[in-house]
Amino acid sequence: MDTKYNIEIKKKNKPLVVIDEYTLEENKITFLFGESGIGKSLISKALMGLIDSEDLTVKINNQKYDDYLKQQKSIELLKNGFFVFQEPSSHLHPLLTLESQLNEGLLAEKELDIEELKRLWQGKSAEELKRFLKVYPKPYRPSGGEKQRVLCLMALKKMDIVQKAGMGDKGLFVFDEPTGNLDNFYRNIFISLLIEKYIESPFTITFITHDYSIISFIQKKYPHLLKDIRFKELYRKQNKVAEKEFIPSEYINWVKSIKVRIPDGERYDKSILLKFKKDFSVFGKQFTICDDNNRERETDLIVEAGDIVYLKAPSGVGKTTFAKIIMGLVKAEKYNFWLNGIEITEKKSANIWRNKLWGKVISMVFQHADEALNQKSKVKEVFDGIKLNHHAEVKDVLLDLFDPEIITDFFLNKKIDSLSGGQKQKLNLLRGFVLDAKLLILDEPVNGMDFESIKKVINLIEKKRRLGLGIILISHNEEIFDSFVDENKKYYLKEKGKNNF
């Protein structure tokens, strides 16, 4: 039976999330999309009783939070469920080994499934896995992806325990962006494990994600399960949040249609903006750039005016570091490239970027809008200190990604920290696009966005390309960008001497 909830979450009388009739479909897997900051995690935490009522005021179905939490149904949700948090680093105990955390509390009721462990850490020997389990989760070890897999493994264990107790239909399993730090290979393994558990006996699962390409994976691999799987999207409706069914074919058809098609006779200066020699070393490691179509074939990375280049690499290999080397923000030990005709090597002074390149020839949009933007600025101040193209006004610039009706004086005077994650990311991107630079690096440009915004961003990238801008894309969202970017413009970055596949 489905349960509907009216949820209201406030901070000091300021509403954070108000949603009517949020549906928890029992014994179904719900993939929940929606722009970052819209309240997906908060809603799920509220239902699971994980909100500190001293910090936030919560009302569920017009009941005080404490009263809601006393209900048997609410108690069962958490008791027979699990919550995999989005940020794995802060949710593992630094002073307990991974093994002891995997066997902590109720989880001790079931032994660790070595087969699951092996599947989630493919390529590692039993001996390596044994050593890995003895690790204390300090800040830089294990990696974000490994920590995330540990948390997912905990949830899978809990599923076994609940299943054995015959309480599988009572709990709620929430996975809050559990694959955010995983590449598609490990993401697919985890989802397969999850679905296998579900097939054994159904659970109520909320899977919060921004990764729309999960839809294609599910459709291809588990078409027979589509009746048990829901795709939903949260969106803003006036001052509230509402949910709607997300139609998978809408996304799948769109992805097929976005291939960059350069019309015959499209004319612009095809000068080489960037030529990066294939080998470079940084932080004591050696890297090489390969053709993505043949990952054994090493090649220089070349970006011409009007090119969109897609750079891929396994998670954590150093795509952002590579971008920062081009931007002169990371000092590498050995590299050689030409940027708009200027040869740059490790011997070049850092001032060349400051005086000749930043904002003029090259710019970069960073991955985390929360860090890249001044949270204390107002929306209208985001472009302060930058010369806007052709004396455009801030409102005109915003029109590229924001709906016209949202661009009011009230919105322009809003502080950045009060915006949703998706809105921040749009402003972050617009600051990059508004410059007169010839080459722009976009690091995870569609991070935290809903489907409508992703479509707008892709359109904007294509629009700027047509104007002759060279663009380097870095993203783990392979499905969208593989489809978008020309086959000859895809590169693969790998560390020498490592298994990078």
Binding site: K324, W358, K360, F366, N374, S377, G385, K387
Partner: protein, 290 residues
Amino acid sequence: MKTKIEILKQIDDQNDVKWLLFWLIGIQVMLVWNNLFLNSPAFSLLKEAFFNSFKIGFIVIVFSLLLSWGMINFSLYLKNRNNWIYHYLFTFVINMIRSIPQILGVLIGYIVLTFILNNEMLKSEFMVIVFIGFVISFFVFLEMFDTMENRIEQFKKNDFYPAMLVSGISEYRIVNVEIFYKNSLGYIFHKLISMFGVALFLQCSIDFIISVGLSTDVSLSNFPITLGSLLAKMDSKQDILAIGKTLTDPLYGINLFFEHLQGISAAFIIVFTLMSIFKISNGFVKRISR
């Protein structure tokens, strides 16, 4: 409209505001009491010392702010111009100043001031106060300089700083507007509050040290009267010593508030102000970090 209870509750939650009110009330009560029971010349002296000390304190925070802000921008200028030799030289000078104990530095400044006064190069009392303020700020401004540098480093650690740099935004704008003005006013203000306390403490300590006299021609009597120098006067010392008498004769304690007001009041202002500043700055930090 907020009710009185709500306003009082709000003040109670804000320790900095609460202690500022305590301080203002405490000083007012003390002044009224002194007006009633302290003889008129001593009361005038106390008021002058109070205002001079506070003037110096304010001058110290103004100079320190200007010096540190100027130095931060100068350092940025040297880095941007790739003048690494000058930049190392600049860092060396800054570290030289840092290596001098504040109290020793201020004492040296007072010796210079004595020389200036001996040669009648400074005649206005206000200019002497400004000079004292400058000397103290020269040896304490590095506290503000370090706070500002820490703020910049904090923002350099994440994408904030590089994201603006690569957008072609001037580094001066990033530092002065985006980091200092929009993100650090609370931190700077907090530092200024504690520097005011440091300035007051240093003044009083130095005034006490030099109460033995700096030269035959210049002594504390030539300097503008401050709380420290007032406390160093023989009358005040006797007032303070009278506190010791209450240990053997507790009933004598009542006389402290009628017959020994000059020294007791000077000491009270110093101690009460330093304690209040400590509470205000801590409360302020708590409030801005909420």
